[in-house]
């Protein structure tokens, strides 16, 4: 039981440290611009499109237009997702310094032909014409349905992960 206690303590400590690192890595930027999503998780059918709505905050010290803001997307599966900026495309509007917009369409994500039950994430960052950048946010697109077979890499990984557990059990036996 003592070994178990040490192990679980190690796991929790590791989780705490890494969790801290992860959070600080994404929130370290003290930026003059920000965006707030109504929801960061949406559901889309295979081949469908989802729209992420939200607000944009301008605290840069100067007035900006919607077309002075640009969304950057990364860390996504390019064969399954295609993100498209909406902000400023249909209409341009002023975002005065020190203000936050009402909820508007910020960007769309077109989902390709994917398996039911899949879940996809992508990182989103807002940039402005003055090269200010917001904190990065992760959005998730879930495709309804049941995923029957785990993807080989995940399966392999879990198998590898259980190996120490099995060895530990064997040693105790």
């Amino acid at each position: 039981m003592r070994a178990h206690a040490r192990w679980s303590k190690f796991c929790y400590s590791l989780g705490g440290v890494l969790g801290f690192l992860f959070l600080t890595a994404t929130s370290a930027r003290a930026d003059g611009i920000a965006f707030q999503l109504v929801t960061s998780t949406l559901t889309a059918a295979s081949g469908g499109t989802v729209t992420f709505d939200g607000t944009v905050t301008n605290n840069t010290g100067g007035d900006l237009n919607a077309t002075d803001f640009f969304f950057n997307f990364f860390a996504f599966d390019p064969t399954s997702l295609n993100p498209i900026q909406d902000l400023g495309v249909v209409t341009d509007f002023l975002i005065p310094n020190g203000s936050t917009t009402v909820d508007v369409s910020l960007f769309d994500v077109v989902v390709g032909s994917v398996s039911p039950g899949s879940t996809f994430t992508l990182e989103v960052q807002l940039e402005d014409v003055n090269l200010d950048a917001s904190a990065t946010q992760t959005v998730t697109i879930a495709v309804p349905g049941t995923q029957s077979v785990p993807e080989p890499p995940t399966e392999l990984f879990l198998l590898t992960g259980f190996l120490p557990l099995a060895l530990w059990k064997l040693r105790r036996a």
């Binding site: 178990h4 192990w7 679980s8 796991c11 590791l14 989780g15 890494l18 690192l21 992860f22 890595a25 077309t67 002075d68 640009f70 969304f71 950057n72 997307f73 990364f74 860390a75 996504f76 599966d77 390019p78 064969t79 997702l81 295609n82 993100p83 498209i84 900026q85 400023g88 495309v89 341009d92 992508l122 990182e123 960052q125 940039e127 014409v129 090269l131 950048a133 990065t136 990984f157 879990l158 992960g161 259980f162 557990l165």
Partner: protein, 644 residues
């Protein structure tokens, strides 16, 4: 109980594995964050080119970055995609060069640029998409009409310093201003096309300087318009101080024209890289101010300087901020520099090169602008990066071809009945020397034969020199000697690539006076002039606009004179109770004092030369001190006549 405990262990194990899986996927907090920088847009009439910096603001290397598609509000880029950008290290920038051809793209309208692509992290491929609204057809700094300003510099000639600098070895020249400011110009080897006599004169004040905190320190460097092939470094140490963010470098041309801010190096000391003369210094202001913000210099090269200066001012203040030590990376600085340099290539370097193909009068300006552009790329560490690497190669190739054509035209003019050999030989020599520095002189295999055929033009030297040694103490003597060589032929030596000549040096007058201690008195001392010869070499100054020499009087020659002339002083003194007593006391006085003033151990041949424009009698006044404490005053007029 046992079962519950096992179940709990299993859940715990799964939780730990999930955590391990998650952290492995994010490579222990390593992130990729791709952003766009300020783009450079050129073109019009449905055909636009975009140069877009792509920054990796994350903490890990974005591997094998490729642009797979680019659209301007739905209009796809022409040309071959994907565009491979290779790896982009954390905090580093790469560049995408994209062309769009479509009648749907209208100048003055804004379009959403979307760049899509892929990168790898930890062996896994990911997608990215970056966006930016682009205004097509907006004028950049190189396309706008000029809006220059002129200042009124007052020079402190009493602290002026003149030094010959060897082209092969380089050298250093230092002057100290009245307020104790020290100015040091360091010229690297092979920065000049020919040896040069450089004059550095501190600036006492500048009228109308548009910096709110005023002038701090500066110098004027002559000859006006001199150009370096490698950057020289000017360092200014002055008692005036200001915070880093309030120090602004400046430069101006002849008589204070085209004043503009000039980039300071990113060091605590005030230093600047210089590719051309005239005025340089620094002044103080908390911000640039509306007057300087509105300034648009006359030439593209100066516009590039003022834009780089604005960017480096912010970056220098950031890097020298005591709260930012050691300085953090600022990839956006390099992005902005790169965008500016790409603008300079598209809207200044390339158009000038194109113009020079049809009209050689543009060649000088094209060469100057291209050189400044290339050297800035090298100084910023961008020269080896695409697309600049290819652009530099293309620019060099174009310049070499243009200068060879210019050379051939010059040679043809030289052989024509109305040709001016002196002018054409200076141009041919300059082109050859430039190619020599570029390692391309083999492209002119017949240079020496052709130069000999051009005959280089004969020069006639007149050397009219007076040497005075005055203010001597009791027991010594003053003298005044006048030597003259008139219309001495000088011919161009195609082996040494310089003018040479020698002949007789006459001694029209030699007078003087002894200061005998009373009651002794002079009883007929004699100052006897003797025969002499003169050896002269003349080196054509290729550092000042050799591509734009229209007539002989624009050819500048550094003339080195070696006089060998004898004289003799026979002192005769008598006293109230002693008869007149004579003895030979001193000989070769002119030559000795000339040596003191000219053989200063500087320059490639150790002799201070005279800088003379052809067909322009040029007076020189050179002062110093004699071996016995008297004041030496040389007043010499040198004339190089070019008989047509």
């Amino acid at each position: 109980m046992l079962h519950t405990c096992r179940l709990a262990r299993k859940r715990l194990a799964i939780a730990c594995l999930w955590l391990a899986a998650f952290t492995a996927k994010s490579s222990l907090g390593q992130t990729i964050t791709l952003q766009s920088g300020t783009p450079e847009v050129s073109g019009g009439n449905g055909s636009f080119t975009l140069f877009l910096p792509i920054l990796n603001a994350g903490t890990a290397t974005a591997g094998s970055v490729a642009v797979t598609s680019a659209t301007l509000s739905g209009v796809a880029a022409s040309g071959s995609l994907p565009l491979q950008l290779s790896d982009i290290l954390a905090g580093k920038v790469s560049f995408a060069n994209l062309r769009f051809n479509s009648g749907a793209l209208v100048t003055g309208n804004k379009y959403l640029l979307t760049i899509r692509g892929t990168y790898t992290l930890g062996g896994t491929a990911f997608g990215f998409a970056i966006n930016r609204f682009i205004l097509l057809g907006a004028l950049d700094i190189f396309q706008k009409p000029a809006n220059p300003i002129t200042v009124t510099p007052m020079l402190d000639s009493s602290h002026s310093v003149q030094t010959p600098i060897s082209a092969v070895n380089g050298g250093t020249i230092t002057a100290t201003g009245a307020d104790g400011s020290v100015f040091t110009l360091t010229i690297p080897p092979n920065a000049l096309l020919s040896d040069e006599l450089i004059t550095m004169t501190p600036i006492a004040s500048i009228g109308n300087i548009p910096l709110s905190g005023g002038f701090a320190a500066g110098v004027e460097l002559q000859p006006q318009g001199l150009r370096f092939f490698l950057p020289a470094t000017l360092t200014i140490t002055s008692p005036t101080t200001a915070p880093a963010g309030q120090q602004w470098g400046f430069s101006y041309g002849a008589s204070g024209a085209d004043f503009h801010i000039y980039p300071l190096n990113l060091t605590a000391a005030i230093t600047m890289n210089i590719l051309h003369f005239t005025g340089f210094g620094w002044g103080m202001a908390p911000s640039l101010g509306s007057t300087l913000e509105a300034v648009i210099a006359l030439k593209a090269e100066q516009r590039l300087e003022q834009q780089i200066a604005q960017l480096t001012e912010q970056e220098r203040a950031r890097q020298l901020d005591p709260n930012n030590q050691p300085p953090s990376d600022n990839p956006q600085y390099l992005e902005n520099i790169a965008t500016l340099l790409q603008q300079a290539y598209r809207d200044a370097v390339q158009p000038l090169l194109d113009a020079a193909v049809g009209d050689s009068t543009f060649l000088e300006k094209a060469a100057e602008t291209a050189l400044a552009w290339e050297k800035t790329l090298e100084l910023e560490g961008l020269a080896g990066q695409e697309p600049f690497k290819s652009e530099i190669a293309a620019t060099k190739s174009a310049l070499v071809q243009l200068t060879i054509t210019f050379y051939n035209n010059s040679f043809a003019r030289c052989l024509a009945p109305d040709g001016v050999p002196l002018v054409e030989s200076a141009i041919m020599f300059g082109v050859w020397k430039q190619l020599l520095l570029l390692g391309q002189d083999s492209l002119l295999p017949n240079f020496k034969t052709q130069l000999a055929a051009c005959a280089a033009g004969q020069l006639l030297l007149t050397f009219d020199s007076t040497m005075m040694d005055v203010g001597e103490v009791v027991g010594k003597f003053d003298f005044n000697s006048h030597v003259l060589a008139q219309d001495l032929p000088m011919r161009f030596d195609t082996t040494k690539l310089e003018y040479t000549g020698d002949g007789l040096l006459s001694y029209p007058s030699f007078t003087g006076m002894f200061h005998w201690p009373p009651p002794s008195f002079d009883c007929g001392s004699r100052f006897i002039p003797g025969p002499g010869t003169i050896a002269v070499t003349g080196v054509i100054d290729l550092n000042v606009n050799f591509l734009a020499i229209p007539q002989p009087s624009d050819v500048r020659v550094l003339v080195t004179v070696v006089p060998t002339i004898s004289d003799l002083i026979i002192a005769s003194v008598a006293g109230p109770d002693s008869p007149c007593f004579s003895l030979p006391l001193s000989s070769d006085n002119y030559m000795v004092d000339y040596g003191i003033l000219h053989y200063n151990g500087q320059g490639s041949n150790g002799i201070l030369p005279y800088a003379v424009f052809v067909n322009t009698p040029t007076p020189f006044g050179i002062n110093g001190f004699g071996v016995s404490g008297g004041v030496l005053v040389e007043q010499t007029t040198v004339t190089l006549a070019n008989p047509m």
